[in-house]
């Protein structure tokens, strides 16, 4: 019996091993494929359009004659919306994470965690749509603007999208701080806030920075909501109360009309490369902070 089953088992083992190996390798393969494709198409722009004009060009007029493909207004548009979103999301997210991790009673903690995570489940197009009909008129009215389709509207909306990432990662970082630190501080007569401020936050700082990084990564890659509510004017923004156009929205809006193989088409891929490099660096930074948090 034993001996009869052995070759079978070995064959099965071999097959499973190969299958898992294949599954692992194929995801790496696809990443490489995507990157090569992106690079090939993006770099094709440089055959006819100088790199310097792409990187430093301040005008994005893809269908003028001659066209200009300056990425600066789009890059600044993305940065403006992202910065605004982070400035809103980080303090709110930090407050929420501290409340959930240390202050809230057990039952409320569970409800809050589930609710914040549910926020992540709302499709971004739905959030964008809600933003368009509720937030945009509000922004217009409150700030007395001619249009509510501005960077600040996008920032507010994206802040909501970044919140689940920021809150749940920060909460994890705070919960991971050993209980003995908290007890030690309380036993020395620290109040809850002194304990949080002087012990908990410094101990969790690496994990919290990683949370902010991943929040930025989430925001800068977001497309649908910004396409709907930031106004899409490819101009260099001078304040958050102007319409802006982000890199993602540009690709989404223009890819349909760009002729395949045209300079315009390649320029959109070149924007994709810029976006890729930015998110890659952000993830790298997040990875660095996470590594440091585990090291402590």
């Amino acid at each position: 019996m034993e001996s009869a089953r052995k070759p079978w088992n070995r064959a099965l083992e071999f097959l499973i091993e190969r299958a898992i190996f294949f599954a692992g390798i194929i995801s790496i393969f696809f990443v490489i494929l995507i990157f090569v494709f992106l690079l090939k198409e993006g770099v094709s722009l440089l055959k006819t359009y100088p790199l310097k004009d792409f990187i430093f060009g301040q005008k994005w007029y893809p269908i003028s004659e001659p066209p200009s493909f300056g990425v600066v207004p789009l890059l600044l548009g993305s940065l403006a919306v992202t910065m605004g979103a982070i400035v809103i999301a980080v303090p709110l997210g930090m407050g929420a994470a501290i409340y959930i991790a240390v202050v809230a009673p057990g039952w409320l903690k569970e409800i809050l965690k589930a609710t914040v995570e549910f926020l992540a489940a709302i499709p971004s197009i739905v959030l964008g749509f809600i933003g368009l009909v509720t937030l945009v008129p509000l922004v217009k009215q409150v700030f007395h603007l001619t249009t509510g389709l501005t960077a600040i509207s996008g920032s507010i909306m994206l802040a909501f999208m970044a919140m689940p990432t920021i809150v749940s990662m920060m909460e994890d970082a705070l919960t991971a701080v050993p209980r003995s630190y908290r007890e030690g501080a309380i036993a020395m007569g620290a109040t809850k806030w002194q304990m949080i401020w002087r012990v908990l936050l410094p101990a969790a700082s690496s994990g919290m920075l990683a949370a902010i990084m991943l929040g930025i990564g989430r925001v800068i890659g977001e497309t649908m909501a910004v396409l709907m509510i930031t106004g899409n004017a490819a101009r260099i923004p001078t304040s958050l109360f102007q319409p802006v156009r982000t890199m993602t929205a540009t690709i989404a809006a223009e890819m349909g009309e760009a002729v395949q193989g045209s300079d315009h088409y390649f320029a959109l891929f070149a924007i994709g490369i810029v976006l890729f490099i930015i998110t890659f660096l952000i993830n790298l930074a997040a990875g660095f902070f996470i590594g440091r948090a585990h090291h402590k």
């Binding site: 007890e183 030690g184 309380i186 036993a187 020395m188 007569g189 620290a190 002194q194 012990v199 101990a203």
Partner: protein
């Protein structure tokens, strides 16, 4: 004589939900003495210790009756200032738990919480406190180093130093040597003998030899009750109660 009593526990009962963890405990502890609390696991000795600075308040569903007087003042009285209490009654934990800050900031922690001293005054307090636990020589050039890089023994000394710095005068020690090796244990015991010149120390220990070595008085707990308390040499040579003798001679527990 009564002026010597610094901790006075009266008819103290503690419940974790339905579980009656301490039953009618009465005992007094003299100033500048070392009192050891011994007994088998789950007898309530750590619970009593954590009652003395009200750390049990952090646990849900804890209920207390009776009273504990520290320097004559009831600690369970309404409006009792817990910050004031915990400043006076410091705690050393089983596992050394320095904060993830520098050596210097660990010792200065209590001062930053509770006082507005000048930079020089803080520095002086830090130095005095590190000297009190015999760490100054080893660490005076490493004050900026992270406390978590110190050895276990140094960390535990540091945890005592940070209590000394905020002028606590009662130290509650919850098995302070259980995470340390025998040599480090011996050093901490020596330190306890030095510290009792200035401080009142209550130490919970599983190690009966340790209780015999360091304490002046010993209290034996079993199932939440104080069975017997008296001078340590008496408890270890001619205990009044049969249960105490059984535990100490190792016939049980």
């Amino acid at each position: 004589m009564t002026n010597d009593i610094v901790i006075d526990v009266r008819d103290y009962n503690l419940y974790y939900g339905d579980f009656h963890a301490l039953l009618d405990v009465n005992l007094s502890i003299k100033k500048k003495s070392v009192t050891a609390i011994i007994g088998p696991s789950g007898c309530g000795k750590s619970t009593l210790l954590r009652g003395l600075n009200r750390m049990n308040d952090l646990i849900d569903q804890v209920r207390v009756t009776g009273e504990i007087f520290i320097e004559g003042k009831p600690i369970y009285a309404e409006k009792r200032d817990l910050v004031e209490l915990r400043k006076k009654v410091g705690m050393v934990f089983q596992r050394p738990n320095p904060f993830p800050l520098s050596v210097y900031e660990n010792v200065a922690f209590g001062l930053r919480l509770h006082s507005h001293l000048s930079k020089e005054e803080v520095a002086q307090k830090v130095e005095e406190s590190l000297k009190a636990v015999a760490l100054w020589k080893e660490l005076k050039d490493k004050l900026k180093a992270p406390a978590l890089r110190l050895s276990g023994e140094q960390q535990q000394r540091l945890c005592i130093a940070r209590l000394a710095a905020m002028s606590a005068d009662i130290f509650l020690m919850d098995e302070p040597c259980s995470a340390l090796d025998p040599v480090a244990t011996q050093h901490i015991e020596e330190l306890i003998r030095v510290l009792k010149e200035d401080y009142t120390i209550v130490i919970v220990t599983h190690n009966m030899a340790q209780a015999a070595r360091v304490s002046d008085e010993t209290a034996y707990f079993y199932l939440g009750k104080l069975i017997e308390m008296g001078p340590t040499d008496q408890i270890f040579t001619r205990p009044a109660r049969k249960e105490t003798e059984d535990y100490i001679t190792g016939r049980f527990g």
